[in-house]
Structure formats: C-alpha cells, structure tokens
Amino acid sequence: MFKKLIDNAASKSPWLFHINAGSCNGCDIELVAVLTPRYDAERLGFKLAGTPRHADIVVVSGPVTVQSLDRVLRTIEQVPEPRVIVTLGSCPRSCNVFKGSYAVAGPLDKYVPIDVSIAGCAPKPEAIIDGLALATKILKEKREAMK
C-alpha cells in the first residue's frame, strides 16, 4: 500500500531542473512564463529546483554547444532516478538555425535518450505545460517500473 502511495505521488510533485545548453534565451523566457501567475504550473506541483539532485524532470533548451555538452551530460547524470528528460524548443532536437555551426555538438539525442520533446521556436506556454504534463505520466511509469 505504501508503495502505491509513493507511486501515485511520483506524478504529482515533479520538480524541474532547467539546463541552458546554448539557447538563444527565447525558450528560457517561455519556461519562466509557465511559472508566472497567468499559467501557474505550480498548481500541478511543478517547482523549479535549485540543484539537479532535487530534480525529477530535466528540461534542456538550446542546440547543445561544444562547450556545454560535457556539462549537460554531467548534470543529467546527477539527477536521481526516476528522471525524465524533456527538450524544450526545436534547438535540442534538430539544432534549428544553428545547424552546421562548428560550435554546435547537438542534437541532444545523439548522447542521451529523450523522453518528451516540446516543439516550437519558441514553444507556447500552453505547449510547454502539455509537454510537462506528459512528462509527469512518464515519470510515474518509470517509478512503477523501478524495483
């Protein structure tokens, strides 16, 4: 019974950790907008965590530059299981307008498996909430699959 309580709680309190991997800042602003009174993601339990150790969902934005690649991977590794990786915007999936640049090492799925990707440049806050809600479902599935 206790395990069931924990499994249920897993989808209700997702804490986000946001990594900027060379994003143009457009996506980052939209993510912050999701937490403002207008969209208030906290009603679903979302909270921005200060450190990757506290996070459940890692949100990556930006095309993963050569400089940031190592840091992104190390940060993702520090997030305890179960964790879900979400890409924000077109950049981490396709490198978007930065494709072909000598400074870009992306897309991200060359290095880590991605659970949810939110499309758009930059995505609408509604789309971000939708993607994050999907991420909480995956989080719960992963928690149930543990042990």
Partner: protein
C-alpha cells in the same frame, strides 16, 4: 526492585506519546497541513491558483521513492544520519509543549530544554551540509550559523519576559505553569506589556523555521538550497518533513507562550482550536511575509534581529520587570 514497579501501561503510554500523539504521527500530519496552507495562501496572494493542500505530502512521498545518491567526497555516515537526528530532536521538542492542556513530559525547566532542543535540527542541517563536501553547502552552513545567532538572543529575551510575567516574584521556566497562569487570568497577548514580545516572536518564528524572507542559509536562487544541495531521495524527504514539523513546533510554542496553550477541557476541541491558532499564526508571520518581501542579505538579517527584534523583546522584559 524499583525498576520492576514501572507499569507496562506507563511504557505503553510513553510509546503512544512519542509515536502517535503528540509525537511523530500527529506532528507530521499537522506540520504537512501547515506547510500546505502556507503554500496555498502565498499562491492566492500572488493571484495564482496554487498547489493542492496535500502538495507537501506528495513532495514528501515522492522524495521517499527517489534514488538516494551519496557524493564521493562526503562523510557517508554523518551525511545519512544528520536528517534523522534533526527529526528526532524535533519530535522530542513537541513532547515538552502543551498542546490543548496535554503536556507529555512536563518539567520545571521546559523552556530551557526547548531552547536547546530547537537548535539541534538546525545544527543537524549544518552537520549534514558540511559532511556533503560541497562548497555551496559550506556557504549555506556558515550562513545558517549566522541565522541561529540572530534569532537566539531575541528568543531568550522573549522567554525571560514571559517567564517573569507568569512567575510573579521569580522567573518560571515551566511551560505548564505559564499556560496555567494564563488559563487563570488572561492570555498574555492581551497584556499590553507583552505585546512587543509577541511581535518579536512573530519575527523569530519564520527565521527559526528558515522561511522566506529569512532563509539566508537555503537561498535556492543564490546558493542552490545551501546545506541541502547534495541531498536527494529519503534523507531530503526527512529534511523537508523536519521543515514542516518545525513550523508546527514554533507556532505551537507561540500559542503556549502567548495564547495560553488553548485549554477548554475537552481534548478533541482543544486539538481543533490549536490547529486553528497555529494556522492563523502561520498565515500572519510566514505566508504574509513570504508573499510581500524579498530575501534579506546575511548581514541585514543579523542587524535586523539584534536591533529591532531584540529591542522589542527587551522593551517587554523591562516593562514586565518594572511595571
């Protein structure tokens, strides 16, 4: 021979006190409830819908189900034991505070014991933070130390003022006596001499709990939650739970010191009343301050507590002594 005389019923009674009421189970539920309404009310004040009331409970359960990572550079045993030490001492503290006329372990020196016990959870956090070996935790620990020094002085002055008011010729350190005195006369919050002390206490509570705007040690936007930076999984859950319980302990202490511990005679009614009073105190001194203010800097915090808050407490002490 004496040892044989201890009744099995007594032992059972103490077990119930420690584990169920007013110990572990009761304080957990109560604390999580207070943390829930705090978050909800702050959200409503900022024109948001806010998380559900059970959000702190969800957070706690979720953290229990997460992987627990111990960093390579950490002192493993201290790192893992620190949260439990903090939780245990908080649960013990509750046993000394009269809740609805019921005081599990009353002694002649309750307030002194409580003063000591209250520092242990914060010290446990400092201990755990230093054991994690992270520089962020180091900064957070030293800041937390400053916070302890800031609120300890006014808290002692407040307790002296209240003890003097209840003790007549001497100062009493027994919470039972303090609440009894208020039961027989009037709650101290109505005594004009003690109003400054009550206001000072309303500032001490959020600082002791580590609530915004006094959360210098855990500033998550500057130093990534300070001492908690490396914690994950169950130990982090215990720290979050301790934080919620601390809210309850401090507000219950306030209601014992200034509202007379709320005694009517019927236990269930007392508990409901205590719940209501604690919630109101939480709203006034924590949610309101949280919603309308930005964080203090460390030296501002220290200065504020040693001048304004200590000043208020000192005024009360002098008034009680000489009027």
């Amino acid at each position: 021979m004496d040892i044989m005389n201890i009744d099995i019923m007594d032992i059972l009674m103490y077990a119930v006190y420690i584990l169920i009421f007013p110990g572990l189970l009761f304080t957990c539920v109560f604390g999580l409830w207070l943390a829930g309404i705090d978050r909800k009310v702050v959200a409503r004040m900022q024109h948001r819908k806010g998380p559900p009331l059970a959000q702190p409970a969800y957070d706690f359960l979720k953290l229990l189900g997460k992987e627990c990572i111990v960093p390579d550079g950490a002192a493993r045993i201290t790192f893992l034991a620190a949260p439990w030490l903090g939780l245990a001492s908080l649960v013990v503290t509750v046993l000394f505070i009269p809740i609805g006329g019921l005081q599990a372990f009353g002694t002649g020196g309750d307030t002194v014991v409580i003063l000591y016990l209250l520092t242990i959870p914060t010290l446990a956090m400092i201990l755990g933070g230093s054991a994690s070996g992270s520089p962020f935790a180091g900064v957070g620990s030293s800041r937390t130390m400053v916070a302890i020094m800031s609120y300890e002085l006014p808290l002692i002055l407040i307790i002296l003022a209240v003890g003097k008011a209840a003790g007549g010729y001497g100062v009493t350190f027994s919470l039972g006596q303090i609440t009894l005195f208020q039961y027989l006369t009037a709650p101290f919050i109505l005594d004009w001499r003690l109003v400054p002390a009550a206001i000072a206490m309303l500032f001490v509570i959020p600082c002791e709990v580590g609530q915004h705007p006094f959360d210098v040690g855990e500033a998550e936007t500057e130093i990534c939650e300070g001492p908690l930076v490396e914690y994950s999984g169950a130990p982090l859950a215990v720290f979050k739970l301790s934080h919620a319980i601390k809210m309850f302990v401090m507000t219950a202490l306030f209601s014992a010191l200034f509202l007379g511990g709320v005694t009517t005679g019927m236990l269930w009614l007392d508990i409901v009343l205590t719940l209501a009073f604690c919630s109101v105190v939480t709203l006034v001194c924590m949610s309101l301050l949280h919603a309308i203010s930005a964080r203090f800097r460390v030296e501002q915090l220290f200065k504020f507590f040693w001048t304004v808050v200590s000043g208020l407490a000192l005024v009360s002490l002098l008034l009680v002594w000489f009027c």
